[in-house]
Each structure stands twice: as structure tokens, then as C-alpha cells.
Symmetry: C2
């Protein structure tokens, strides 16, 4: 018996449990060159919401009545492929199925280290690579510079801030609650953190937290928060633009002050990116992140749900704020 | 007798002739290490308006009751400096004076070729360098790509478009009159040009003129025109942001749709710049522009006023549309 989770209806606004359907199929058999995989850990990410719409984006939309997909760690339980042997662990973008076959394309073998296995979905996976490569390849941080991170307590933001600290920056985080402000300063070693929801004059709060101005702004949110940061950038500021989550759930374009005048005045750079833009640098980046992690210097947080059937609930939980850091389902 | 033009009052809104004053001084004498210069050609540029305000910008403001300055070509008429001899021509940021002394710092010797002398204020000077370096160092044009230029009939825009053509791009210009549309196509060899003032749906007009989308957008204007171009950018688009002239004369910030979502979706880059950001590349860029100019393949247009006393009128003329291309005063 093999459970499969399908997209039954395209969500309208906030996703509902009824948008998903669990089907039962046979366990498939690995053909020549194929491996049979058993799902162990499923990565649950906000970007999946976008793929549930029938709209063009940087990844194609999910098909209705077809299995959903995300980053998955699976164990090889049968193999007709010389690259993999039974007991290997692999990471890849796989279907939400308990069992599935694969020809191995796009799969990466990962060490079966129980203590770090889920790290490959987060800090050693797309999340960590997004933070590290966006910051280093667009932000070019130099020791002594000031880095501001928005969405700082999120999975990507909290790593971007820590990487900035390793590279010698003063790091200031913007986040949405006093608890997260404390978390950023204690667990993630940010120099300063600001609760943008309770701050009356965000522009001035950023100025106070960044007495030498802002050299790098790792932006996950866009909108008014980013306007306040832009008011404080230095000459030659670099802005890795990772997301604009404050603007995604709006039905039409949101208006704000044009940013071109400040960009000209400060000779500043903004570059939107998705982690795959830097695919050629994944091995070197993973090596660096692994080294920091093994040295015990890189903190991360995850929320782990248990059981295949709870994948939809875990996804809905992203929108209730039930997760802290990376959301994962363990099967 | 030596005439000098001072900033008598800071202009409010559109500059007036009464904002300037002509004084008479003695002709100075070149000391040890100095040269005496006679002004021959004065560059008259829109950016000078900004320096007349008492406000922070990328260049410091002019002082009241002090001489104004701009790019000037002068002849060395006396020399106590071994770098320069009588009869040499130099280019530099100099005072609006008929005669002045200099220690030679910041001055560049230029060949006394009457046919090309004024080119050093335009196409071989800051104007040409701005167009060439912004396009090549930020836009990285590749053969077959589509380049859109706003403010295309201006001194910088018309060169940016021609450089794009040399480098194998399809080049589309945005400009404000039907005459300029014709000029762009006939004199400057743009593939297409659009009069944004008479086009009802600019978004659609750009789409029609750029069937393969926009890879590079050399932006001089910002605002609504740029919003329409951004709607048509391709994945990995590059946007050298040279100016935002549509937004400069407004009293407060102008609102428009936030551009972060499209930048993330397209992994696109915007970088504001001023030509001095690329100062280390001036020699190589000047060499390339000179070669194209000498081959007769690079067109430029200039409006030349005559007589030192007419410098203020020439400056006011920038705001009446009296100039076509680069505005210069010949002394």
C-alpha cells in the first residue's frame, strides 16, 4: 500500500485541508536503471503556495489531481542502478508519495548521519544555499560592513544573518514579534533586531540600529519595510532580493514610492534571484555551510510534524504561524 | 580683464537669468607648478541644476556668490608646469571664468583636432563614457539581445543605443516626440522608436517592438515609462539605471507599483550608477569610443552657443528644449 497526496482543488486565498486528497496506489517496482525510494522527511515550504495557483512564476504550477512535490529525503530500498545501493539516503525534488521509483536523475546522495539528516532540507539544502549564495554572490559582504535582513527569523533570514556575522558584518534583523527579536539576538547572534510591527518610526529605528548606514540589505519581504531600509542605504549598497512576501497575497499591484531616485543617488544595486541561478556554486557553498555546521557555529530551528497523512496540516500550519523555522514532516 | 559667472541666487523651480551674475576680475598669473588657462568650450548639462540647490546629492552643491563650474575645454596660454606646454588643450571640471590658473590636477590633455574638440565634452567625455560604461559594465549586452533605452534622443541615450547596435543588439528607443522618433531611426540607427507621449498603451507598444522581450533596459527616466518596460523584461534582465529625470522635479516622493515582485520573478538586476563609479575604465572606454568615432560610425548632435556672456542663456535653454543633443558654449 502506497499513499499519495494530490492537489484536488486550487486554493483560493488561504489553503484549506479540502484542497488536498490522499489516494492509495500500489507500491511500484524498480525497473532496469531505477531505484525504489521510501520517503523519510518532507520539506514544507511557503513557495509551494505559489505553485498551487495556475499562474506563471519561476517554477511551473502543480497540475490538478496530480501528486504534489517538494524537497524530500528518501531511503533507497531497492536498486537496479549502479549509482545507488540499498540503504543509501538521497535528496531530491520528489512526489508526495510514501514510495516511488526514480532513474536517479536530479538526486543527490547524502550521508546517513541521523543528527544532520534534516539539515539537508534546510541549512544544507535550498534554504541554506539561498541564504549563503544570495548574500555572498550579490551582497559581497566585507568585514565591518552593516547587513540588514528582513524576514530575519525565517528559515532563510536567520541563516543569512549568521553568515553575515561569520563574514564580519554588523547584522541587524527586522522581524514581526518581540519573541523573534529575542531569538535573533540570543540564538542567532544578530547584533540588533527590530520588531517592525510595534515600531512607530521604522526609518528612524533602522538609522539608530545602523549608525554607519546600511551596506547590504538581504530582502525577503519588499513593501514598506524595504522602503524604510532603502532610506538608510549607503553609497554602493547591494540588495540581494530573495522574496517580496509582503506583496504576494495582494490581488493587484501595491503602490509605494519609486525607488529609482535613491538607487541612482547611492549607486546601489538590487538583484532578484532564485537559488538555482547559482547552481554551479552549490558544491562549494554546501562545503562551507557543512563546515560551519560541524563546528557547531551555525544554529537553525525546525518544526517537525510526524506521519505522512499530516503533510497537508503541516503545509496549512505555515500560514497559521505554527512553525518556527523550517517546517518538516517525518514519515 | 577676466569675466567670471557666479551663482547669485539659488533658483526656485525653473532657473532665471537673474540667478546668475557676471563679475570682472584680473587675469591671474601662473605661479610655480601652475598653468594659465583660457576657456574655449563650456559643457552645459542638466545635472548642474541639482548642484544649484542647497541639498545633498552625489556631487556637493555650488556655493552662493562663488563661480559655477562644469566640464571645460581650455587652452594652455602660460605654463610653469612641466606636464603642459603653451598651446596644449586640456579637459577638466573648471570654473566658469574666461581665464584661470590650475596646478594641473584632474586635467587631461586632449589632442587639438578642431573637428573633434567638442566631442571631448560629449561623446568622448562624460556623456559618452556614461552611455558606454553603464551599458557594458551593468548591461553586459550580448549579440541578439534586445536593448530598450529611455530618454533615447538625449545625449546619453542616443549613444547608449548606438553602442548597443555595435554590440549586436536589437535597439528600441523611448522618446517624447515624433521628430525624435524619426531622428532615432534615421540618424542613430535604432531598430524601433516609440513616442511615449502619444502611445495609449505603452506596455503593449513595447511588447510589439520587442517580440523577444527586453534583455537590457538603459533607464534615464524612471517612473511610469519604466514600469511599462519592466512589464516586458526577460529572465536575467539587466537594468543600468542612469537617471530618473521623470521623478526629479516633483516636490515629494511619487508613488508607483512596487517593482520587487517582478525583479524576483525574473532574477533581474537594477543598478544605479554615476560615470565616476567606473573611473578606472575611462582610458579603455575612451579608446573604444574614439575608434568608433574616427571610423565615422558614431553620430552625435550638439547645439553650440557662442560667447562667454551667453553661458547662462545656454543653461536656461536646456529647460526650454532649445537644444538638440549636447549643449555647448564656444568662447
Amino acid at each position: 500500500m502506497n499513499k499519495v497526496i494530490l492537489l484536488d482543488k486550487r486554493p483560493v486565498g488561504k489553503p484549506q485541508i479540502s484542497d488536498f486528497k490522499i489516494n492509495i496506489e500500489d507500491v511500484p517496482v524498480a525497473d532496469d536503471g531505477e531505484i525504489l525510494l521510501q520517503t523519510r522527511y518532507v520539506s514544507i515550504d511557503p513557495y509551494l503556495r505559489g505553485r498551487m495557483n495556475d499562474a506563471e512564476s519561476y517554477v511551473p504550477p502543480f497540475e490538478l489531481k496530480k501528486p504534489l512535490q517538494s524537497g524530500i529525503i528518501a531511503e533507497v530500498i531497492d536498486s537496479n542502478n549502479t549509482r545507488f545501493k540499498i540503504g543509501d539516503f538521497v535528496l531530491g525534488n520528489l512526489d508526495w508519495k510514501e514510495y516511488q521509483v526514480s532513474d536517479g536523475k536530479g538526486l543527490r546522495s547524502i550521508p546517513n548521519e541521523p543528527a544532520y539528516l534534516t539539515a539537508y532540507l534546510g541549512i544544507l539544502g535550498m534554504t541554506g544555499l539561498t541564504a549563503y549564495l544570495g548574500l555572498t554572490q550579490i551582497g559581497f559582504p566585507k568585514p565591518g560592513e552593516t547587513l540588514v535582513v528582513s524576514g530575519a527569523a525565517g528559515a532563510v533570514g536567520s541563516i543569512a544573518g549568521q553568515v553575515g556575522k561569520f563574514l564580519g558584518c554588523r547584522v541587524v534583523g527586522l522581524t514581526g514579534s518581540d519573541e523573534k527579536v529575542q531569538l535573533l539576538k540570543s540564538k542567532f547572534h544578530f547584533d540588533e533586531a527590530i520588531n517592525y510591527k510595534t515600531t512607530v518610526d521604522l526609518n528612524r529605528a533602522i538609522k539608530a540600529a545602523c549608525p554607519d548606514g546600511v551596506d547590504i540589505y538581504f530582502d525577503n519581504v519588499g513593501g514598506k519595510i524595504s522602503d524604510a531600509v532603502l532610506n538608510n542605504i549607503n553609497k554602493y549598497a547591494r540588495i540581494p532580493l530573495c522574496g517580496a512576501i509582503s506583496l504576494y497575497n495582494e490581488s493587484g499591484p501595491v503602490l509605494g514610492p519609486y525607488i529609482q531616485p535613491i538607487l541612482v543617488k547611492k549607486s546601489a544595486l538590487i538583484r532578484g534571484f532564485i537559488v538555482s541561478d547559482f547552481a554551479d556554486q552549490f558544491p562549494a557553498a554546501t562545503k562551507q555551510l557543512t563546515a560551519w555546521l560541524m563546528e557547531g557555529n551555525l544554529s537553525y530551528h525546525e518544526t517537525i510534524y510526524e506521519g505522512f497523512d499530516h503533510i497537508p496540516q503541516a503545509f496549512l500550519g505555515l500560514f497559521d504561524g505554527s512553525n518556527e523555522g523550517k517546517m518538516i514532516v517525518k514519515i
